[in-house]
Symmetry: C2
Subunit: 125 residues, 2 copies
């Protein structure tokens, strides 16, 4: 299955761009957004995300990531899985190695949710 381009949820709807502070999130929006923040609510996963995002070519091999922590490979694998299931990153196997890259749109969306204003053009004033 290709999780690569699946929107997962109707992103274009309510929780897409309107910032938190503009109108109250309803339960459904919150249920959809919270897991994303939860996924980055762990120091290891935050660093993983950052490492992947900053890595040369926009993608990183698991071996690069594992060596940056004092954690076992299964633990890193677990965190990568959490990030991937949240839709924040995606991956592909190439030969022996598995590469991960971030999904910039999701990150951008979260940024917009927290941002003070700017509905990213959805609502034209």
């Amino acid at each position: 299955m290709s999780k690569q381009e699946l929107p997962v949820v109707d992103v274009s709807e309510g929780a897409c761009c309107a910032p938190l502070a503009r109108e109250p999130l309803n339960a459904a929006e919150a249920d959809e957004l919270a897991p994303l923040f939860k996924a980055i609510g762990d120091p290891v996963r935050l660093r993983l995300l950052s490492l992947i995002a900053c890595h040369d070519g926009g993608e990183a091999c698991v071996c690069d990531l594992t060596s940056a922590f004092e954690l076992t490979a299964p633990t890193i694998s677990h965190h990568l899985k959490v990030l991937k299931q949240a839709g924040l990153i995606d991956s592909e196997r190439r030969g022996t190695w598995v590469y991960y890259w971030i999904n910039p749109q999701v990150l951008q969306r979260l940024s917009a949710i927290l941002g003070p204003r700017q509905a990213t053009g959805l609502v034209p004033a």
Copy 2:
């Protein structure tokens, strides 16, 4: 041992504005930021934050908040405490009621961390 040396980092330093994707977060920065994202990584707390931010006058009484959920008062109180301890909101008692308001700077900072670019003027490039 090499994981973290300082529990709290000076916010004005690295983790202040530079987005995730610009340079890898170090362990200390991640340890400082992750709890903030974790705090909003819960649907109830996300909605609480949004409700408070959107409320008239920029602040909301606990009674207003409690009535928006099908949860007991202690549970709401717990979530508010988590948000407050994370620094996302603040509160004050006025007579019988307790009012909460958000700390916009913290929210803005998180937004900047996730944002694609814009170091908020830190590095001119």
